[in-house]
Amino acid sequence: MTKENVEAAARAALEDVLDPETGISIAHLGLVYAVRYDVETRFLCVVMTFTTPACPAGEMILEGVQRRLGRVDGVAFVDVDLVFEPRWTPARITAEGRAELGWPPSPAASP
């Protein structure tokens, strides 16, 4: 298991964690700022945010992230670091997220 493989698997796993209101994954909403894996300790750290600090589902989303990442191969420990700097803005929504929200792909996201 290389660092890159585990981080890619973790990012893919985060696509399974959905925002309950929009039904869109937190990854596609751009809530995940960073995923870091340490091969030696098998420790995975995720830095993420919410669309608003007053997110009513915040606690459940964080627990869901912990549970889902705990099932990724090679991960022994998970830490979710919740931050509100920088603040989330709609500009962080990915092309997939925009499509799920009903928007046409932005020119920058076009191949």
Partner: protein, 423 residues
């Protein structure tokens, strides 16, 4: 985790369920009562039938749901726990029997001691609610447009129920030096525009941004709306207490219209910046409710120009009450229920499975079709009812009330279906 999560401040699910359950029961009783009495709705608004219906609608249906929603919303949005959940339960335990007794006395307008006593008990319950929520809000570090609207709305709520209790005592033992109907108008507008109006405005700004993923809308129009609604209430109450002074009435109406216009501009700015393009039935209800709000303002304008003692004025008063209460406020309450109830059920039943298996989103807990049918039924019913009152057509009124009763049953059925969902 670096900070306390806002969601951890939410009160117990049972507190919210109790409020929503009482409100939904009130909605069903109001709907049935409306069907039974729709054929005889006519004449001046100061009569047992209409006063009973109005209080059943407001205190039985709209108020418990609104107060329950506030208990859920305030701690999460303002990131502070409810001051006392025990006090919230005590207020609810007092509210339900007091309001039940009060409405039964209102319905028949039996002016015995139970009328003012039950009104005072209901007012006391609301004072406890309001005190609990104001003490909750002042502990929050947030100072915002929504906070200003919610705190001011709660203060108007206290004034409205106090006026209501005073009016009930005045019916039992006349003691007020001013006309009963003048104070009744002040009571109704402080409750409708002051409490419900400002509360809906403040909450809408925050919830629309949150649910529609809308960011960066300037709040200037929202602050203008806040100022204008407060000015409108000041002028209108002064006008009512000075025998419908035309200048004060006109100023109040102008400020009210300006406030509603500014509110709609603010909502438009939030909608314009939304990232969530798909608008489900909840949003359709909320959008339609703004139409009822505009219609309320229009009816208010007509009431000023129509001769006071005319038949048209009597009918317009009923139309005014209908578009404002079951129309504007009732529609927005139903729309919010379709947002809040699935979310709460998801949070308490489905969330523990996030990351373990595929689960539906909150919006997927109920198919769209029943919600759409209910939407059509409710607003078709409102339309028929309004026309039936405006042209005094009893059959139209009964048909409209029946459609609204079916719609109420569909709301309860849909929410019951959601409550029964398991992962």
């Amino acid at each position: 985790m670096s900070r306390t999560l806002a969601s951890q401040y939410a009160p117990s699910f049972s507190l919210i369920k109790a409020h929503f359950g009482a409100g939904l029961l009130g909605m069903i009783i109001f709907s049935v009562a409306l069907v039974l009495r729709a054929s005889v709705i006519h004449g001046h608004f100061f009569q047992p039938l209409l006063l009973g219906l109005v209080h059943l609608c407001v205190l039985g249906w709209l108020m418990p749901i609104t107060l329950g929603a506030l208990h859920q919303l305030v701690p999460v949005v303002f990131e502070v726990p409810v001051r006392s959940e025990r006090l919230a339960w005590a207020a609810f335990a007092l509210y339900v029997p007091a309001v039940t007794l009060f409405i039964t006395r209102m319905w028949t307008l039996e002016v015995d001691a139970l009328l003012p006593v039950s009104a005072t008990a209901a007012a006391l319950a609301v004072w406890l609610y309001a005190a609990n929520l104001v003490l909750t809000l002042v502990r929050s570090a947030q100072r915002s447009l929504t906070g200003a609207c919610v705190i001011t709305a709660l203060l108007y709520l206290v004034v409205a129920v106090t006026l209501g209790a005073m009016l009930a005592w005045h019916l039992f033992v006349p003691y007020l030096p001013i006309a009963h109907v003048a104070l009744l108008r002040a009571h109704a507008h402080v409750a409708g525009l002051g409490f419900f109006g400002l509360l809906i405005m403040g909450v809408a700004y925050r919830l629309l941004e949150m649910f529609l993923l809308s960011h960066g809308a300037p709040e200037r129009a929202g602050w203008w709306a806040f100022g204008a609604v407060n000015a409108a209430l000041t002028f209108l109450v002064a006008a009512f207490l000075r025998a419908a002074d035309p200048t004060l009435s006109a100023l109040g109406l102008a400020a009210g219209i300006a406030g509603i216009a500014a509110f709609l501009v603010q909502i438009g700015a939030i909608f314009q910046r939304r990232m969530q393009r798909y608008l489900d039935v909840a949003w359709l209800h909320i959008s339609v409710s703004f139409g009822y709000l505009a219609l309320t303002a229009l009816t208010g304008c007509l009431l000023v120009v129509v001769p006071v003692d005319s038949v048209a004025s009597a009918r317009l008063h009923v139309v005014y009450g209908l578009v404002a209460l079951p129309g504007f406020i009732g529609t927005i309450v139903v729309g919010q229920l379709y947002k809040i109830v699935p979310f709460l059920v998801w949070l308490h039943r489905f969330a523990p499975y996030v990351g373990l298996k595929t689960i539906p989103s909150a919006g997927q807990l109920l198919p769209e079709l029943p919600k759409r049918l209910q939407f059509v039924c409710m607003h078709l019913g409102m339309g028929l009812l309004l026309v039936g009152v405006a042209v005094d057509a009893p059959l139209w009124r009964v048909a409209g009330a029946s459609a609204m009763a079916v719609s109420a049953a569909m709301v309860v059925g849909s929410l019951g279906f959601i409550f029964a969902r398991k992962p």
